[in-house]
């Protein structure tokens, strides 16, 4: 492997370059309000399957978007070409839209400028990582599986992005963000084991540890028993908890709440889950993907969403917040779900305390079925086991679940401390593994 490390040319758009581009646009704009956003991404992916590299990719994509408003009329145009001519042409397109689009009664001027928190959103080791580092990790995972005569499929990604927002009222934010991810599915015949990681630092992917965990799951998953559908006590590993909580978090939209078409309608301040559960945004946590600001130019900061089971916060758009007199719009890009009181040390401890339950490693294809009560459906995947008398006794065929997190998390039997969790369908979170009295499985599949 003799690939040179990621080349730094052409360089990512710097703070000064973004300020120059933004100033150029803001100075030329005829709009009453103008906002410029930047996303300049350099990303690489090494994908493998059947113990071979099947994709090896390096992509550079810069996008500059301009939003112009004349009074309450507004329009947005974007382009990937950062040359002066293109940038000004993009401004002209936004102006043209804003001149003719109808007035928007919900339009608001850009947020007032305020200092954004400076966070360690970019890690130099991830910025320096290129195709060779990704290939090294892929090869390590493949090698571990080959030694066990198993098949590995997975992905290693690393990226760096320059992100900016600027408005003609003086609002200005710029941040460099890195992101590294690893996930692996190990196949042992029909059985599969899975693990995944996401972190600002590529050094924290723990490729060997996660690959060995996936190998262990795959080996244990052979010859699954078929159990009948129905309600079961469950032990959910963090990835499965994250899947359900991602759907719950998406349902916290404040506008739907105000219009009465939310599963939480009328429940702000009320208990919605077990009183030991607390959900916070913690953008300063080094294992989460917190940011300094949003593309809307809003600051990100610590906030409380569910406190001891009580719903404390909704996800506000700026208009709804304004109508409701909400001064600070809380963001939730770095969630931590924690359980008060005594916690178990690990998932293994939870299993050892369990008389009979289904151990769910991961949930897949989770979709809302009924937004009135937030009933969801989805499948267990990549490691579903029967626990009896404190031990995993066998693998079981995958179930489809049909239940609402608002019921499932009403009572927690036991839980660990929050652990890192990320799946193909969720963002990065810190959530505990949990033992719960009931999850309704509505059907069984063939494997």
């Amino acid at each position: 492997m003799s690939i040179t490390a990621a080349k730094t040319w052409p360089k990512m758009t710097s703070r000064e370059e973004f300020r120059f581009l933004a100033d150029l646009i803001l100075a030329r704009s005829s709009g009453d309000e103008t906002t410029v956003t930047l996303q300049d991404l350099h990303a690489g992916t090494t994908r493998f399957a059947n113990n071979h590299v099947v994709q090896n990719v390096d992509v550079r994509r810069g996008t500059l978007a301009v939003t112009v408003a004349f009074g309450a009329r507004h329009g947005t145009a974007s382009a990937t070409d950062f040359t002066a001519g293109s940038v000004l042409e993009t401004l002209a397109r936004a102006e043209q839209i804003a001149r003719v689009t109808p007035e928007d009664p919900e339009h608001l001027a850009p947020p007032e400028p305020e200092p954004f928190a400076v966070r360690e959103t970019a890690r130099p080791e991830t910025m320096a990582a290129g195709p060779s580092r990704r290939l090294e990790y892929a090869n390590e995972a493949i090698g571990l599986c080959r030694m066990e005569h198993l098949l590995a499929a997975g992905v290693v990604t690393s990226s760096v992005s320059s992100v900016g927002v600027a408005s003609n009222n003086g609002l200005f934010g710029y941040e460099t963000r890195t992101d590294a991810r690893f996930s692996i599915t190990v196949q042992a015949g029909d059985a599969t084991g899975w693990n995944a990681a996401a972190h600002r630092s590529i050094d924290h992917l723990k490729v060997q540890e996660r690959t060995l965990a996936a190998i262990d799951k795959a080996k244990r998953g052979c010859e699954p028993r078929e159990l009948p559908a129905g309600p079961y006590p469950v032990v959910l590993e963090p990835a499965a908890v994250a899947g359900l909580w991602t759907c719950l978090i998406r349902a916290l939209d404040a506008k739907s709440y105000q219009k009465g078409v939310s599963p939480f309608s009328g429940r702000l301040g009320e208990r919605v889950v077990d009183k030991r559960l607390t959900l916070n945004n913690s953008p300063d946590h080094t294992d989460l993907l917190g940011v300094g600001f949003t593309f809307q130019g809003l600051p990100s900061g610590p906030s409380s969403w569910i406190d001891s089971g009580l719903l404390r916060q909704l996800a506000y758009d700026r208009f709804t917040a304004n109508v409701q007199g909400i001064k600070t719009i809380s963001t939730l890009e770095a969630p931590i779900l924690s359980v008060a009181g005594a916690v178990s040390g690990s998932t293994k401890d939870l299993i050892s305390q369990t008389d009979r339950a289904i151990l769910v490693s991961n949930l897949w294809y989770i979709r809302p079925v009924n937004l009135n009560d937030l009933t969801l459906t989805g499948m267990t995947r990549d490691g579903t086991f029967l626990i009896e008398k404190g031990e995993i006794v066998c693998a079981v065929k995958n179930f489809r679940f049909h239940d609402s997190p608002l019921r499932v998390f009403q009572e927690i039997r036991a839980a660990t401390a929050p652990m890192e969790a990320v799946t193909a369908e969720t963002g990065k979170m810190l959530v505990p593994a949990m033992a719960l009295p009931r999850l309704h499985f509505s059907s069984v599949t063939r494997f």
């Binding site: 492997m1 003799s2 990303a43 399957a49 059947n50 113990n51 994709q55 090896n56 990719v57 992509v59 550079r60 996008t63 507004h74 329009g75 145009a77 974007s78 382009a79 990937t80 070409d81 003719v100 689009t101 109808p102 009664p105 919900e106 195709p131 060779s132 892929a138 493949i142 098949l151 499929a153 992905v155 996930s183 599915t185 599969t192 219009k259 009465g260 078409v261 897949w364 294809y365 979709r367 079925v369 009924n370 937004l371 009135n372 009560d373 009933t375 459906t377 989805g378 499948m379 995947r381 995958n398 489809r400 049909h402 239940d403 609402s404 193909a424 509505s442 059907s443 069984v444 599949t445």
Partner: protein, 485 residues
């Protein structure tokens, strides 16, 4: 000296790839223009006009892939990206124990243009926003409607594909869609009903022909009726599924399992594999004899009818399921040869210049039968008629599925009666398709397109169209889409 042409940029990249000793390489240069006008609750919430330009270079070196792409289309960046793609392919080759072999394909030189009657760029923004505001006004005219949405969308792709084999293709493709939806609130319960044109390769004539304000009257009325409708009683029902609903059922339970890369394990870490393993080809009874599923990437107006795929393979028509038996996969040049097929089916597609092409479901249609709609319903004592898309979920091998819908009516003694709510049906794919005992005739055939078919890592959005006439399925398990405490 003016800006180099796309032909010149292509030549520059291909010269570098050939000089590096790669056995194959191609370049895709693409400029995409997207306009999205989105209305919400009687207002125009956003108008977005996006231009996306860039190029991607794919290289096969000693049987291993490398791909690099950039949004900087310049004389400096094109050779840098071509060299980087070669360098990455060499890295892949350094750990490869199996070499990629591409199935043969004739050299093509062609230009493909979507026939358009009304170019959406020539339709003023005022006309588009007025249409959406009028539609939402009609929706809110119905008592009980608390939320509404309306949208007009179109995208034009200008693309050049050129390979070291000599294939050179130019594309000027357009697709459009319009949609409305209304949410009704009744006694603390809410329900949404929607209507959309299919995504098709047509111009603004698609939107004009949809008469969105006219449809709004029906949509609003049915949203209220749906919110007030009784919940379904769980049990076994005969189902009559409309073409839009079937498009999703076919897509998830037939389309994805027929992707050969899935069957071979390429997607094991994300989208999943397939119960249609290669040993089932030609023998597996997928459905009843009423079920024939034809892949057709040549049908005009459909999303995957682009003339050629991103391997430079000409679009084709073939059977996926014939008289109930699984007989064909969707393939690309890489995987076709792995099952001994001499030629790719032409299903390799990337969602932009910055993405690697991967196997995608073809346009796929359920072959029409001979029944009238009344005949399908007439033979049902207790059943449910389902329209549109709702909740959907399926396991990673595509066996166990669960589908909702946008609207449901109880069928009693051959007649459609009142609406139901919270209808969910689930089953095992081959068992479900084997329960099909009737497909309506071709006069009722309709097409629906998908532009958000998720697959790949990083995720890509696939585009394809599925067509069907209404079809009937016997004794399908239905459950209520809410959990009783």
């Amino acid at each position: 000296m003016g800006t180099p042409s796309w032909e010149e940029f292509s030549a520059l990249a291909l010269v570098r790839i050939r000089a590096a000793g790669a056995e194959y390489g191609d370049i895709r240069i693409q400029h995409s223009m997207t306009e999205q006008v989105r209305g919400e609750d009687r207002r125009i919430a956003s108008v977005r006009d996006a231009e996306d330009t860039g190029f991607g270079v794919r290289v096969l070196y000693h049987g291993a892939w490398g791909f690099a792409a950039s949004s900087i289309l310049s004389l400096e960046e094109v050779p840098r990206i071509a060299d980087l793609a070669v360098e990455i392919a060499k890295g892949s080759a350094s750990i490869a124990t199996e070499k990629v072999r591409l199935a043969e394909e004739p050299v093509h030189c062609d230009r493909v243009v979507t026939p358009v009657r009304i170019d959406p760029r020539t339709v003023s923004l005022e006309e588009k926003t007025s249409l959406l505001l009028e539609a939402m006004e009609v929706l809110h005219g119905q008592t009980g409607i608390v939320r509404s949405a309306a949208e007009v969308w179109w995208r034009r792709d200008l693309k050049r594909f050129e390979s070291t084999e000599g294939t050179a293709l130019e594309f000027d493709l357009l697709a459009a869609q319009g949609a409305i939806s209304a949410t009704a609130l009744s006694d603390g319960r809410f329900a949404t009903r929607s209507f959309n044109t299919p995504h098709l390769r047509q111009g603004y004539e698609l939107i004009e022909g949809a008469r969105l304000p006219h449809e709004s009257l029906r949509v609003a009325s049915e949203a209220v009726e749906k919110a007030k409708a009784p919940a379904v009683d769980a049990g076994f029902y005969d189902l009559v599924l409309d073409p839009e609903h079937l498009s999703l059922t076919m897509h998830e339970s037939c389309g994805h399992p027929s992707e050969l890369d899935r069957a071979l394990g390429y997607e094991a870490n994300y989208a999943g594999t397939s119960f249609l393993t290669t040993d089932t080809l030609g023998t597996f009874r997928f459905g009843s004899p009423h079920v024939t599923l034809v892949a057709d990437n040549t049908e005009p107006g459909t999303l995957a009818s682009t003339g050629y795929d991103d391997d430079g393979v000409a679009c084709q028509m073939w059977d996926i399921v014939r008289d109930g038996i699984f007989v064909g996969y969707c393939t690309n040049r890489e995987v076709a040869s792995k099952i001994g097929e001499a030629r790719s089916r032409g299903c390799n597609r990337a969602d932009s210049w910055g993405s690697v092409p991967i196997v995608r479901i073809a346009n796929m249609g359920l072959q029409s039968g001979t029944a009238t709609f009344d005949q399908l319903l007439g033979d049902v004592k207790r059943g449910i008629y389902v329209e549109g898309h709702g909740s959907y979920s399926i396991d990673q091998r595509r066996y166990n599925f669960q589908f909702g819908g946008d609207a449901f009516w109880l069928i009693e003694n051959g007649r459609r009666t009142h609406m139901l709510r919270d209808v969910i049906y689930h089953g095992i794919t081959p068992e479900f398709w084997n329960s099909c005992d009737g497909v309506a005739d071709g006069t009722l055939r309709q097409r629906y397109g998908f532009i958000t078919c998720g697959k790949g890592q990083p995720g890509q959005s696939g585009w394809m169209t599925h067509a069907a006439s209404p079809a009937r399925f016997r004794k399908v398990q239905v459950i209520r889409g809410e959990r009783e405490s």
